[in-house]
């Protein structure tokens, strides 16, 4: 219900600058995500220790620890500084964090993408054509939703074996029903609007109506939803690693690192807490970005 006061704005005005609207939390989040992305992409170029090299004399060493080793010939001493310390197997936490970012980002971004594309298409078709096909599609989605997700993840893990691709596939599959629902609800809403009827009245074909009239309208809500799922997926990867269902070693992942250090929480808390903090900040950033974008979209929808 449009408030009469809001009706007063009719002609066009220059909108407020985006940066002011989004607030500092948003920009800090974007900065953090950019940093994580940059690290993940350029990990190979960074002066890092090998993420799987074990310094078995210095396990769970504290952040900033200087390890002195003799080189392979036993001649001179080499000093290595472990900025974030080492994990329980004497591996450099910093290097593992940065390589682990690849896994978390891959899971966090690709899995929702699968759901977004497949669920989006199915949902749009169901919402647009309605009828029996819609009933069947939604019933199938109900079955997927009713099926405990962990069981499916376990099944995929046992059937296909461990692996990043399989985990992304399985997690992505699980997000399909949710995206289908969002896409369907939005499509239903828009296909009842008169501009769709008008396009039909002009003789526009269904495929054009879907692609040109409806799709542009549901893209933003879908992306906002996808951003929410991104953070869920990063946490899900962590949970799977915690249940020893994550990516196979020695590939580091944040969840695996947290799980790996949990039994030393008392003596070497940093082994768990540093990756936990990084994961927390990343998820928080995605959440904040998602919320800011949602607010922006809502505000714009409000004007429509």
């Amino acid at each position: 219900m449009a408030h009469p006061i809001q009706n007063t704005e009719s002609a066009c005005h220059g909108p407020m600058p985006l940066s002011e609207k989004l607030g500092i939390g948003f920009w800090l989040s974007v900065g953090w995500i950019a940093l994580v992305f940059a690290c993940a992409i350029f990990a190979d170029l960074l002066p890092l220790a090998e993420y799987d090299a074990m310094d078995w004399k210095n396990q769970a060493s504290p952040p900033g620890f200087r390890a002195i080793r003799s080189d392979s010939h036993g001649q001179s001493a080499i000093t290595t500084v472990y900025v974030f310390g080492t994990d329980t197997m004497g591996r450099d936490i910093l290097a593992r964090l940065i390589y682990g970012a690849r896994i978390s980002l891959a899971v966090g971004l690709i899995a929702p993408m699968i759901g977004l594309v497949i669920g989006g298409i199915i949902g749009m078709l169901a919402g647009f054509y309605r009828g029996r096909a819609e009933t069947i599609v939604m019933a199938i989605m109900d079955v997927i939703l009713a099926f405990p997700g962990l069981v499916l993840l376990l099944a995929v893990y046992f059937y296909l074996g461990p692996g990043l691709d399989k985990m992304i596939f399985a997690l992505g599959f699980l997000t399909i029903p949710a995206f289908t629902r969002v896409a369907r609800a939005n499509t239903l809403n828009f296909s009842q609007r008169d501009f769709v009827t008008a396009a039909r009245a002009l003789g526009q074909s269904d495929i054009h109506i879907l692609a040109r009239e409806i799709l542009p309208n549901i893209v933003m809500p879908m992306i906002v939803y996808a951003l929410l799922i991104v953070s869920y997926m990063i946490v899900a990867e962590g949970s799977l690693s915690f249940l020893a269902l994550g990516v196979p070693p020695p590939t580091p992942s944040w969840g695996g690192m947290i799980a790996g250090g949990k039994e030393m929480l008392d003596e070497a808390a940093h082994v768990s807490l540093i990756p936990a903090l990084v994961m927390f900040l990343t998820v928080l950033s995605f959440n904040l970005i998602g919320d800011a974008v949602r607010a922006l979209v809502d505000a714009r929808e409000g004007q429509l």
Binding site: I5, N7, T8, E9, S10, P15, M16
Partner: protein, 322 residues
């Protein structure tokens, strides 16, 4: 004087800058009289009425020297608690769309008895009985049965009757009716207006009737104030105004109304252009860009509402029609 509004200016911050939907408005209302507030949507009439009861959204600011005096009380300086004693008890309000103005998840009977319990301290049982009486008094048959229904189960006309019954529950001294019939069908519009006139006479309360329809105001008010872009541009007693429209806007508005007596395919007299942008209103007289009689002076200087006498026929125009 029951109500006196002086120098009221309302500022609402928005994403695109502050807006002043009401920009320096003064008027008075006598006990038992009806004031018609006429203007197109966006002219600020709704904001004006909500400002009286302090019902504007958070962040809204009233001008420092504004005064809203109801029965000797300065409403705009009253704390929320004090206002709550006035709202619904002394001053009641009816909204445009009876569907959205009633809580969809509460039975109408309960909504109706709420002010009775709250203001008059009735017991729930008494309030329920009184609510049924009120419903019957607004012409709702089978009131007892209907009190148990939810708003969506009633037709638009009945919903608006419920809203009226709710507003009149505590017998307020002022009723603000914000486009009470706009959302209704023509046949029901007349019924509701008749009902309002009847109750207004019977209870001897004052009323502000907001409408965009000059014809309606003509028949149901004693005084009229015409608003344009946040300002009152013409005000007079109803008879005087219709006999003698002096502001070009008032006349243009009146002429633009399609009439049932017009022959088919008659070209209507229209006002050219669009109402002004509230963020950046035009210089001088706000109507000047659309006015046929506008002079350079109109575009440069804002006309005051003259003469000073609040009871006279007042116009804010440099070139009033005669």
């Amino acid at each position: 004087m029951l109500l006196m509004v002086n120098r009221l200016r309302v500022r609402i911050p928005t994403d695109r800058g502050p807006v002043c939907p009401v920009d320096g408005v003064s008027f008075t209302l006598e006990r038992g009289k009806t004031l018609g507030l006429v203007g197109e949507s966006g002219c600020g009439k709704t904001v004006l009425c909500r400002a009286i009861l302090g019902l504007l959204p958070k962040g809204t600011m009233l001008s420092k020297d504004a005064e809203i005096i109801f029965d000797g009380q300065l409403l705009n300086r009253l704390p929320e608690r004090g206002l709550n004693k006035i709202r619904g008890r002394e001053v009641a309000m009816i909204f445009q769309d009876p569907m959205t103005a009633l809580n969809p998840v509460m039975t109408v009977g309960r909504q109706l008895s709420e002010p009775l319990v709250h203001h008059l301290g009735m017991t729930a049982k008494d309030a329920k009985r009184k609510a049924t009486q009120l419903m019957a008094a607004t012409g709702i048959p089978n009131a007892e049965q209907r009190a148990r229904l939810y708003p969506h189960q009633l037709s638009g006309g009945l919903r608006q009757r419920i809203a009226i019954a709710m507003a009149l529950a505590c017998e307020p001294r002022l009723l603000i009716a914000d486009e009470p019939t706009t959302a209704l069908d023509a046949t029901i519009q007349a019924d509701i207006l008749d009902l309002l006139s009847f109750l207004h006479n019977e209870k001897r309360m004052a009323m502000i009737l907001i409408t965009h329809d000059l014809r309606m105001a003509a028949a149901r008010t004693q005084n009229i104030a015409v608003m344009y872009a946040g300002k009152i541009v013409e005000t007079a007693t109803t008879g005087e105004l219709f006999a003698n429209m002096r502001m070009p806007y008032t006349r243009a508005l009146f002429n633009a109304i399609p009439r049932i007596g017009n022959p088919t395919h008659r070209v209507l007299k229209t006002i050219v252009g669009q109402p002004p942008n509230p963020i950046d209103p035009p210089q001088g007289c706000r109507f000047s860009p659309r006015c046929l009689y506008a002079s350079l002076k109109c575009k440069a200087e804002e006309p005051p509402l003259l003469p000073e006498d609040p009871l006279a026929h007042r116009t804010a125009c440099w070139h009033p029609l005669t």
